[in-house]
Symmetry: C2
Subunit: 236 residues, 2 copies
């Protein structure tokens, strides 16, 4: 997206303006007029090209989310992690609009955002399976649920970036814009927890397990592990 220069078709310029504006202000607050102004065209032309504001949004959703979701070339390889971090650190501005847009889309209701999230979970699942085979990731008995937790944790930096920045004292350029400083500050603490754990023993895990067992186990069939008996207990 945003193919280097301004040598884009008018339609593409409007779309990119919309992606930026939707990401910054949200779908409801951003108006057709503001999109037109940012793209340097008349409001009528926006409707002419996309039919309606909803139509414009669908095109933006597909452009940002479908594309990003289908990338997924990350593997369960430490070198990939390193390259990914460096890539983002070296050209953060390129990702800024997409990140802001994805954040808004995940918060709204959007089929494309649903598919995006599901794609992230699937990729995470693959990474975990590969990592388990390679011996770099623990052999979880419920890989699906673990993947959901990991994916959700990862995206939280995206959803809460502004608050996380402020809490760390990292300068916030624009309201909901995530900068490279954020990644720099959080990568090591996060990976430290994933590598060495957070608690020193299993007493919190045990307490939660007890609390959950005192509830009725109904209506949860079909999404929990097939053999709920073999869950690991108290390791560290």
């Amino acid at each position: 997206m945003r193919s280097t220069a301004e040598d884009l078709t008018t339609r593409a310029r409007i779309r990119d303006a919309a992606i930026g504006l939707f990401g910054r202000e949200g779908f409801a607050r951003a108006t057709v007029r503001s999109v037109a102004a940012e793209a340097g065209v008349s409001p009528a032309l926006v409707i002419h090209h996309f039919g309606s504001k909803a139509g414009l949004r669908e095109v933006c959703d597909h452009h940002v989310l479908a594309q990003t979701a289908s990338q997924g070339h990350e593997k369960a390889d430490p070198r990939a992690t390193r390259l990914l971090i460096q890539d983002y650190l070296n050209n953060p501005r390129q990702y800024a609009d997409e990140i802001a847009y994805i954040r808004r889309a995940l918060g709204d209701e959007s089929d494309a955002a649903d598919a995006f999230f599901d794609g992230v979970v699937s990729q995470t699942e693959d990474i975990i399976h590969t990592g388990i085979k390679a011996g770099t990731i623990r052999a979880f008995d419920n890989v699906r649920a673990t993947a959901v937790v990991i994916a959700s944790n990862s995206l939280s930096m995206l959803m809460l970036g502004r608050h996380v920045s402020r809490a760390l004292g990292t300068p916030v350029l624009e309201p909901h814009r995530i900068g490279p400083e954020l990644l720099r500050h959080l990568t090591l603490p996060a990976l430290d927890i994933y590598t060495n754990g957070f608690y020193t023993d299993s007493r919190f895990l045990d307490a939660a397990r007890e609390a959950l067992q005192q509830q009725q186990p109904s209506t949860t069939e079909g999404s929990m592990p097939r053999d709920p008996g073999n869950r690991r207990r108290g390791v560290a």
Copy 2:
């Protein structure tokens, strides 16, 4: 909030209707008219009581966020964890509107939401410090950054609840409403990671450390660990 019955002042009824509507539809989409309709009053009365839509929002922000933030009676105690889970599991509907509202507020720009997030981080920091002293939590050298990561991870379930539910096959009652099934499905996998780690060794952590060292280390003073040398390595 929502003090059991309908024996509330009209002002309070309007406020509660607004909290529910703002949480479900977002601040921009919810209208003064819809709030009035849900409260069973005229639109003019809403303005009469709160001055403007923005004024209404401020009151809602304070009612939900300031109150929730000042609670914070959680301690670094496994028994507290257990009670918290059970409390939520036993009366989930009571929390539903607040949760939806907090999600919207954290996504928007709101001073009250900022204070709320900072409060969660502070409480998490206290919990970690207490846990370190008690020996239940690892002795992190950068407690602040760790607290931010933990807080962000915890709130991700709130921010992405709808997607997480769908990814796990948990039935979603209303679009952005988090049910108790979600907690039931995720608590153990999440605590398992916090207890036993995710990776089997430190190679991802090491790779990230290398990637970050190849960058200029400027403008990041004051928020990273004071003594970066004594970080634990390769445990699991």
